[in-house]
Symmetry: D2
Amino acid sequence: MPVLGQNQYGKAQTRVVRVARAGERHELTDLTVSVALSGDMADAHLVGSNAAVLPTDTVKNTVYVFARERGIASPESFAAELARHFVDAQPTVRGAVVDVAEHRWERLGDHSFARAGQDTRTARVTFDGRALEVLSGLTGLTVLNTTDSEFHGFVRDAYTTLEETTDRVLATEVTACWRHTAEEPAAVAAADWNADHAAARQRLLAAFAGTYSYSLQQTLFAMGSAVIEQLPGVAEIRLSLPNKHHFLVDLSPFGVANETGDGAVYHAADRPFGLIEATVLREGAEQRIPVELTRL
Amino acid sequence: MPVLGQNQYGKAQTRVVRVARAGERHELTDLTVSVALSGDMADAHLVGSNAAVLPTDTVKNTVYVFARERGIASPESFAAELARHFVDAQPTVRGAVVDVAEHRWERLGDHSFARAGQDTRTARVTFDGRALEVLSGLTGLTVLNTTDSEFHGFVRDAYTTLEETTDRVLATEVTACWRHTAEEPAAVAAADWNADHAAARQRLLAAFAGTYSYSLQQTLFAMGSAVIEQLPGVAEIRLSLPNKHHFLVDLSPFGVANETGDGAVYHAADRPFGLIEATVLREGAEQRIPVELTRL
Amino acid sequence: MPVLGQNQYGKAQTRVVRVARAGERHELTDLTVSVALSGDMADAHLVGSNAAVLPTDTVKNTVYVFARERGIASPESFAAELARHFVDAQPTVRGAVVDVAEHRWERLGDHSFARAGQDTRTARVTFDGRALEVLSGLTGLTVLNTTDSEFHGFVRDAYTTLEETTDRVLATEVTACWRHTAEEPAAVAAADWNADHAAARQRLLAAFAGTYSYSLQQTLFAMGSAVIEQLPGVAEIRLSLPNKHHFLVDLSPFGVANETGDGAVYHAADRPFGLIEATVLREGAEQRIPVELTRL
Amino acid sequence: MPVLGQNQYGKAQTRVVRVARAGERHELTDLTVSVALSGDMADAHLVGSNAAVLPTDTVKNTVYVFARERGIASPESFAAELARHFVDAQPTVRGAVVDVAEHRWERLGDHSFARAGQDTRTARVTFDGRALEVLSGLTGLTVLNTTDSEFHGFVRDAYTTLEETTDRVLATEVTACWRHTAEEPAAVAAADWNADHAAARQRLLAAFAGTYSYSLQQTLFAMGSAVIEQLPGVAEIRLSLPNKHHFLVDLSPFGVANETGDGAVYHAADRPFGLIEATVLREGAEQRIPVELTRL
């Protein structure tokens, strides 16, 4: 007799754009919001009764009404308000997970903007009726160092042909997710999530650019440590770094030298790619971010 | 002082195609293989020493050599052989996770094939030096019922406008992942994974088509139960079912009726979409498939 | 003083699904429809007057009403009805181009279907107020031969390192588009577009599978000729065939032979790829399909 | 008897990255290059002889060697050098079309960069043995105005329900392509393509932001005119502007007003979308950019 295990449902990818236009200078906020609810939903699965189910269409409507009436101070605060609403307002809903992706725009003028494609800011807030878990993050941040990267001294087995290198291009597309110690609704409401995120992003970029690297693992740990050290409220950070390989093209068949240095030419490969993933923790902190959360 | 938490690395998305041509009638196997290794890798992160790191390039080479020398009996068995190899052969590697996606082809002739785009078969094998965990699955299987789906009796709050319906189109794109009780290498090697997978896939399709549904949750539970009931070696199954909404177009402004029935016209929406996720367990089985594994 | 040149506007990618359910056995038609209109639209561009502009929202509504009231006998006939409507009904509209993509489904039961991912059927109908130009086609049809493909005797210059081969894997993803001689509305209405398309698709597959090939160019011409020869109403066909390279993996560093034959292992590459494009014409026919129409 | 029509072949999407590191401050150039060659290729199609065919693998090698030895002053100049090479060096090659996409990076430090995702710069150079045709362009530039856009006074027919508006969000993703009068190799070599492109891009952005718009058609013409007026060497420009609809969400069922103005909330729709395309010409110039070139 099969049994129902963990289950959740909700509305994924509601696209909400809000324009603040108090004066001449407008502000634009552009989010994709996904909500997952869980609770006393067994009857929907087992006997076809929806008496405990708030429709996902209603979830979507709620996102829009909250955006209109409460505004969007930050992805984290907006997600927290929504998560608390669904659990507090519906007796059958015991838990909510709200994921927000914020699409960045650059200002062209008072009321004109261009989409900034570099990376997407992310937030996930989980509420279980008592505490909030707040994750901040980003995805799609592609960075490259043209030097200061070596890779050697690795294990060699019967299937190893890779040559050692003391100067290579190192490139990756950063996906990062960090967890905050703030869990009380009041603390979550009081935090300056935007300043916090900007500081974390800046530290990730600086650590990538500034680390003389003997492996992408080392760069990863430097990046994670930089965020932990900068932001006292961050308990842990998970990073997923695909190695976007840039291979020196072998031009020797044509009598053309192509070594690292001025004018070197690389093939930017698609697949396969190395993939380096790790969590960096504040000393004493518990590891809670799921390993699967940042996978590609 | 930041501390290193869970970490893993490997080669993602190695594309390997193998042709068996014993006689006139050739066979084609087309896989994308991703490998993640973990173990004594702290020094790579902390002090820039790669003495414990088998290069990801070697991982890729190993995939190709194994495909050549051992063949690919099934995604599960191939993943199991690779996972055991990395842990057994490298003292610094303590765990391996091997993900395989098998791309399906239809036969056109003795040595000719057309890619069957319907769904991708997946497998994940994890080895920790003692036991194997084998997950089978599929993704990208889009199915649709034109009737036998109702949705009513749900919660209504201040943000609910959805109308009840007793006849709607129900469509989803199935992602499923099921865990086998076989954990001993000998049992894993002896199983008929291809027959097993075909049976599971057939049961998922039959349960979708054959369930008179009062919600996608109910359909999900019926689909999961069908697999649990059919395959005694399956301990649990996780399903992720986006509700691919088909909305009846309102043509009343043009004096045109458009109700469910012959000739009804629907708008197939992109976003947002409902998303229903749940695990179905064999009675007494432990829930181990991570909630995040099947997310979109 | 800048001048307005060719211009067109319309609604792209309206997703329309229609269900025929005369009896127990339902039928499903799933289209993406794009419409481009042209005519006396200079004022909209030059002086901000929309007096000649039928809104694109109206175009979308019209697609739905036509699907409801007239049904969808075939992509070609549906596109033709729409193209004629816009030009005939609106004095300011002088030309219409209607593109239809039909997504294929396989039957699972009387009212159940699974999306068939293999390829998408396409149609483009252009109407200028007098004649119809009907293009049929398909895209996304991936096919592979495991043998009967050679490539040698090519030009060698200072940058050539490619080795000659007498047995290789040949794979491509077919995009094809063929033009019909039927131009009169009555002839277009009378044609059996579905039978025609099925015959063309079958001939493309058979020609790919059955041609012993010395180059993808040769295969392309054989495929195009097969359609021209089968269908007397086809004046020309344009094919775009990316060479989906399958490279034999060099396993010699590991002492492993990997030559074409039983058990050969290939790397399926992403980029770059060869791209072969050509038009095949019925003798005496004019070449009208734009070179750009089938590009990737 | 089927006949061969227009045909071309080549290597698509070669990914080439070049690093200039004369001193401490490195420079990065990141291109995707596609080459299409045409000429005396009938035998390859008709009789399986490759005696006139330079392999596409050689085309790829040539791209890398040219990048190494000649550098990449601009997409246009690099494309021109390649196009001339293939036609001049191979007697069987009579024409070449070289497409270049340049991926933009922002500087993080002397040797560190972040991918700038906003838009991709494009160039297409065609050489027929005598003259060069140089097209410059961009794609993926998403822009949005929060006001100064109206839409009314349009045609109303039986299928029109759209309401008129005097204040809406206007957003689009610009694809543009402009043709230069420079055709002589010496003139092409002498031009400052980078300054030219920067000026055109700036004018496109300024015209989008600065135009009070009564339709996207009007904005398109203003954008095209701005480039024509700024750059005397541009003969024509083709623009393809999808209308990325932002619909005011109707919150009236919840007693919530949501009108254009401070705090307005919009649904950013995916499909369908309006699509506005037109060419703007310098007075007296010939229209040569194919209508299909900029389609989505």
